[in-house]
Symmetry: C2
Subunit: 271 residues, 2 copies
């Protein structure tokens, strides 16, 4: 069976097939693993084998592979080929540069590494972002409100009427001519998740920060979910990777998320 | 002779030794070159051999190497080892993520690839940036005002009293406890170069956008230069790489910059 052309349609299929909104971050750490990039590849391959029944998307963060040097990029390319065909893979690289440079980054993510989606920063503006969004069959998540303490340093500045993160959301939404644009919104700030959802009822969210960073799963899912399986992609990395039983941990997260959905009034009906 | 501990001191030495403020961007393009990553490596090695007498810093942009996939990263690591020891190398990657992820990016840039300096985005705030600035012997250029048309989409928003790029500059300056923080300021916006220099008289600038992007060399150098050889690092990529005679092109840029300095009243004396 051919997979749908659009990233978010592929994500919806994978989500429905597994009754899961869980995205597992594939972020190997040399502090936890030995044998360098080979060890990272073996570890993450094992994680995929243990967790794919409960996972609708995998999200390798480029940083954790780059720290191994060139061997890390080779391991990442091999890992990507080992992920089941019906589960989309999202490269979390948060790239941003002038347009000709963004074109090269998009080539790296979408052609060289064959990723289904990628994260980007909006600071360079629309001409930069369009180098990613013009790939109509790939997804583009624009970093909007991050999950870390320093997020308030710039993202909450009033510009001059609304906070910067709402300007970023507006810019991202204005580029969504291919129905392939989403937003990264941290679960550590459920008030902002709700506010951004109010301004943008339909745009898909990628929600990191659950687990080690202390994100609020219940509040964030409740605020983000709009009934669309692509609306609320919950990312967990260390909470699955370094659990005693990663398969069980992924399934527990999957069910916790679904429990929140069962009690959330969705603004529009499930698709 | 041991090289100085700080990046900007190494940059000043290289600049004085060559009477040059020219930084050459090592950004190979598959449209101009064949033989994939091997061709890119051979081409850029040749560029270094032809231009090092006129160049005080080399700046590979990560995107142009990543577009070749894992082979590109291997080529970049080999290229780095071929650059003369007394010329610092700046990895233009513009990374930004939460702190543990930035730590992995910093490991990639400073340990795995042994770069002397790197570019970063400030959107994640201070805890993120500190993962780079804590490397006291490496330089960190924070992207402040970019050279592309979309730069006005977010960077000029009033926040609420000053434009966002001045907030970014202020945040970067506040993290300069190791004297290793600079700003990326595009030469296409000499008014902003002047404004940022007025607010931050001492911070080193990296100034891209000369050549293909149409930056104003004379106005930007005149506005950025403060008499410190590290204050005004002018980056040129395509204008050198794809010149008929790269050695001559680099030397012409070097002299054009010096001609501007000769007529610029520096706010403080040359060091």
């Amino acid at each position: 069976m051919d997979s749908p052309a659009g990233f978010f349609d592929r994500l919806r299929l994978a989500s429905r097939a597994r009754s899961s909104l869980l995205c597992v971050g594939l972020d190997p750490s040399p502090e936890h693993l030995d044998r360098g990039a080979d060890g990272a590849l073996a570890f993450c391959t094992d994680i995929v084998e243990r967790t794919h029944a409960a996972t609708c998307c995998y999200k390798p963060n480029a940083a954790f592979w780059e720290q191994y040097g060139p061997d890390g990029w080779r391991a990442l390319a091999l890992l990507r080929a080992r992920i089941p065909d019906d589960i989309p893979v999202l490269l979390d690289g948060k790239r941003a540069d002038v347009a000709p440079t963004m074109r090269a980054y998009a080539t790296a993510a979408f052609d060289a590494l064959r990723m289904d989606a990628a994260t980007v920063h909006a600071y360079h503006g629309s001409d930069s972002l369009r180098e990613y969004t013009r790939y109509a069959d790939r997804g583009v998540y624009v970093v909007c409100r991050t999950s870390n303490p320093g997020s308030r340093d710039l993202q909450h500045l009033l510009t001059p009427d609304v906070p910067l993160y709402l300007r970023v959301a507006r810019l991202a939404a204005s580029l969504d001519t291919n129905s392939n644009v989403g937003l990264v919104v941290g679960t550590t700030a459920p008030e902002q998740v709700r506010e951004i959802r109010e301004h943008h009822p339909e745009i898909p969210f990628l929600l990191p920060g659950i687990g080690w960073q202390g994100g609020d799963l219940e509040a964030a899912v409740g605020a983000a979910w709009n009934g669309d399986p692509a609306s609320c992609l919950i990312s967990v990395s260390r909470g699955v990777l370094y659990a005693d039983d990663p398969a069980k941990a992924a399934d527990v997260y999957r069910r916790q998320i679904n429990d929140v959905l069962a009690t959330s009034p969705a603004p529009r009906s499930a698709q």
